[in-house]
Symmetry: C2
Subunit: 196 residues, 2 copies
Amino acid sequence: MPGTRGRRSDAEVVAAVHTAVVEEVIDVGMGKLTMDGIAQRAGIAKTSLYRRWDTPQAILLDALEAEFPQESPTAAPTGELRGDLVEALRLMVTWLATPTARATGAILAERERYPELAESIYTRVFEPKGGRFTGTVLRHYADTGDIDPALLTPVVLDIGEALVLKCSLDSGALPGEQTLTDIVDQAILPAVGHRR
Amino acid sequence: MPGTRGRRSDAEVVAAVHTAVVEEVIDVGMGKLTMDGIAQRAGIAKTSLYRRWDTPQAILLDALEAEFPQESPTAAPTGELRGDLVEALRLMVTWLATPTARATGAILAERERYPELAESIYTRVFEPKGGRFTGTVLRHYADTGDIDPALLTPVVLDIGEALVLKCSLDSGALPGEQTLTDIVDQAILPAVGHRR
């Protein structure tokens, strides 16, 4: 029970630190992210932070990595390419609504100032989880023979993410279910040779 | 000759003010944009500013409007849909490299704080110039019968802009000629029923 034990478990500490670093970067920005600020917000001693991490950036990357979702195609080859693509975009929209996504956006917006950190987000967070939302699904259906693998170029793998982000930018709100279906039907499926 | 006349022409004053407001918003941000700051940077009296504009926002909108390019399909029905689409994306990339585009991005990034100004950028700047890069071209070829007009949905009209922006965001640089051609060949043309 909270308050009855003097120590939190390792997992509890890590979770508290992850939450703290994301809140902190949204509040104060990358330029003012410090070990002190993170420790205070997480309610732990700074020495405990240093036992596990060397820099605020390392903590932030750990947190972004832990919170980033992994998309997966449905288990069996159901041929449900369309449904799986919509589901992949739903996963992206769900993630975009989280504080972690806001923190990621804050870093990418300042990539000129923090080029290595921005680069690490791609190599440590995005790429290990499939590179792009819809990427895992599209490659799965290329493997099953439903899609010509030659069509899965960087541009085509990016269509879904690009349109979800553009739509959010233009409207100031995350796209709803109908827009996600439209993106799949009108942009992704034609590009992989599946006309409606 | 500079320095030999006491007064600049009206057009010169307007051009100086347009340049000044864009530089000022990039330097100090929307929150600190003032008539004083703009007047000083443009080297004119504040009273001259007020003769033409009521607010710093009005000046900014005027400047963004004046600098935003207008895409146009080639004059005759050459059937050169593909070339015209690449040219439309080139026009977008050229604009993205300007200070005006950076100022526009600064406003859209703060749209929660300046919703009316952000809205005005869409209604006064983007939409009157064709709504979306590639939009004017696509509608032209729908008129000539080369594209089924039913395929020109909001999502499809947005594919080109979305991929150019996404590519810039991911790489931190504007897309080159090969990427623009790939966007047209692999994403836009399939979506309007023109497979490679």
